[in-house]
Amino acid sequence: MKKLYLVVAVLVMAAMLVPACTPTAPDCTLPEVFCVGMVTDVGKIDDKSFNQSAWEGVQQSKTDGVADWVQYIETTDAKDYDKNIATFADAGYDAIVTVGFALGEATAAAAIAYPNIYFIGVDQFQAWPYDTDTANDIANLAGLNFPEDQAGFLVGALAAMMTETGKIGGVFGTDAVPPVWRFGEGYRAGALYINPDIEIFIVYHSDVGFDKTFTDPEWGAQTADSMIDNGADVIFGGGGKTGNGAVVEAALRGVYAIGVDTDQYYTLPEAAPKLLSSAMKLITPGVAGLIVAAKDAQGGGAAFPAGNYMGLGGYAPYHDLDSVVPADVKTRMEEINAGLLDGTILTGVSPVKP
């Protein structure tokens, strides 16, 4: 018995020796202190996907000296969206970032309830009430969206030009999430644009709960495997860790892989040698940029870009495979990119799964 007490005492003492390194929050209600809070969608902050990218944007604003204090809350259940947003709002935060289309309505409601706080909704249509008339926008709310269909279209075209078997594959999270749907269908459209006869395997991980669909790398790897067994020689993995599993598996099996969201050459070193490109959706700079805009607006500068705000997308450099991709393919990719940007090429993908 005495031993147990001793162990506990030693542990407590050891605990006291560890310096408490949690910095204390400043008083965010003060006007000179600019605080940014972020509410995640149901999921973890370290999801290596949209939550984490957005958080990196928020952190960047602190590194750049825009924000004095940043903080996040992880949502564990959809019923807590309002509560979590209110936690920041009531603590006097100046800008609140919410991540994910599911928080759209909660964010809009909060923006009306707290007109002095700037809200940034990532992956949310926030032209209130979803119309094109800017007069109806909520002045302190911006919905940050991305041209996922165009990014998907670009890598789809690239995959179609690089395949030797005439078969390409794409492994995605659930198509009930609009950005994922746009990536997947953009990929299909881009491949068909190059070669109408190409065979495309597209599999969405829709048969599990929302909490699992982006966090099932083993399923992603298995699905990529099946596609490769069936002759696919380019695999696009889109959708959090599920997609990452597919990208890494493709690279390990020696076929071309295409990443998603960021330039995954840097985030998935395992896949780097076979990573053709990535369909990019630059959440981090988009969020950081809107936080700067919010601070400017608060300081009486330029007006906050309310309504829908289109972030940057595109395709990542070829990196290690630069010498493998033929020059005419590179030229063609630049042409398609230009065409998509000036509107001469349309992806034909609806924003939401019909």
């Binding site: 605990a15 560890v18 809350i73 019923k79 979590n84 599911a102 709960g209």
Partner: protein
């Protein structure tokens, strides 16, 4: 107020009807039910003390209350102490963390309200699992029953006025939505119960399988037939339910709703059912010793089906209440593991309805307070899972707690597991 009382009565009535329905259904199998499906090897060799109906005297209640509260209380404290050490070891401040946790759970009227919001589905789902345990059944399928209950409640909530062509008064609409949602849960759970009683299929496997089936059905409905058709909707979810199907909050401006009160009432009813009625006695008898129950003339098969139906009814209620009182629609992604938390809650409450209520409020408070804890100290919410596991560990292994604090053992053992055979 009257609306809710009547609504509640309506739900109970429908629930009773469901039970009667299954009783009739199960009763039909009586004739063929003479050959026992219970293998002779199954069941504990000796009837456990808890199987005999206990006489409650004032003294025994006080004694058992002190005894049954002291150990769990110490268990919770020990778990919190150990959790604090874990936080400290990784460099956090345990005092700040717990301050945040308690503030977030009980620190204000709003915090209390949110704790109630979290506790409500936990109470229902915990009761669901507990009732099944009492009957010797392990219902891992509360998750699926809950989801389908929610789907049906949402469907009735938004579509029924349209089907009928006129608006329903709340007094009919609410009980209908809740009742049919609960009925759906009961039906869904009765299937594994039926399979267990009449074919020997394991309820553990079958409820797991039915969780996946329910998930797929729900996803299919949310993405297709039941998807909110309005052009502004981008999410896999149903339309909002009609005003007349919504349960109001208890207090203006707070989210805690009449469902919480209903949950408490249902806990009392379940206790009465288990302790004071013949049906309850049959459940406990079948749960503790099916062979003896059979020789005592209890229709074991029917009891198994009914126990599962009752369990599913409660899980369905959890889902239906979440829809009608809180979310006002069903949405994919809602219900993240209530069914699994419910197992822990039922075990923590030692399958006693009142114990379940306390455990559910404790779990609800921790889940709710975790947000504030994270907000104040950046300590990840996973720490809550560690503390919950430790609480469960110490409550279960009360021998450890009794040893540390030198408390003599007293009272009865609760035996839940009888293997897979019964």
């Amino acid at each position: 107020m009257l609306v809710y009382v009547l609504g509640f009565l309506g739900a109970v009535l429908l629930g009773t009807l469901a039970i009667v329905f299954f009783a009739v259904l199960a009763g039909k199998g009586k004739g063929t039910g003479q050959k026992s499906v219970i293998p002779p090897s199954a069941g504990s060799p000796l009837p456990t003390p808890s199987s005999a109906p206990t006489r409650y005297t004032f003294k025994s209640i006080i004694f058992s209350a002190v005894d049954s509260l002291l150990v769990p209380l110490l268990a919770v404290l020990t778990a919190i102490l150990l959790g604090g050490i874990v936080i400290a070891v990784v460099g956090g401040d345990p005092f700040a963390a717990y301050k945040g946790l308690i503030q977030g759970a009980f620190g204000s009227a709003k915090a209390l309200s949110e704790t109630g919001v979290w506790a409500t589905p936990y109470i229902f789902a915990g009761l669901a699992v507990a009732v099944a345990f009492k009957g010797g059944l392990f219902n891992i399928g509360a998750e699926g029953q809950l989801a389908l209950g929610a789907v049906v409640a949402a469907l009735i909530g938004y579509a029924l006025p349209g089907w009928l062509g006129f608006d329903l008064p709340a007094i009919i609409h609410i009980p209908l939505a809740i009742g049919l949602g609960a009925l759906m849960g009961a039906l869904w759970a009765a299937i594994p119960g039926f399979l267990k009683a009449y074919t020997g299929g394991h309820e553990v496997i079958n409820t797991i399988m039915m969780n996946y089936i329910a998930l797929n059905i729900t996803s299919f409905l949310m993405n297709g037939p039941m998807k909110d058709p309005s052009p502004t909707n981008v999410i896999a979810r149903t339309p909002a339910i009609a005003e007349s199907a919504r349960i109001a909050p208890l207090f203006e401006g707070f989210r805690v709703h009449w469902g919480f009160i209903l949950a408490l009432l249902v806990a009392v009813l379940i206790w009465l059912l288990l302790q004071k009625t013949t049906f309850g006695f049959e459940i406990r008898m079948v749960g503790s010793n099916p062979d003896a129950a059979k020789y005592a003339g209890i229709n074991v098969k029917r009891t198994i089906v009914l126990t599962m139906a009752l369990s599913g009814l409660l899980a369905g209620l959890a889902g239906a209440i979440e829809v009608t009182a809180l979310n006002y629609r069903h949405e994919l992604g809602f219900s993240m593991g209530y069914g699994f938390d419910a197992i822990a809650i039922a075990l923590l409450g030692k399958t006693n309805p009142f114990g379940v209520v306390i455990a559910a409020i404790l779990f609800g408070a921790m889940r709710n307070g975790a947000t504030r804890m994270q907000f104040l100290t950046m300590i990840p919410v996973d720490v809550i899972s560690i503390i919950q596991a430790l609480i469960l560990l110490f409550v279960a292994a009360d021998a450890i707690i009794r040893y540390i604090y030198r408390i003599k053992a007293r009272g009865e053992r609760v035996t839940l597991t009888r293997g897979w055979g019964g």
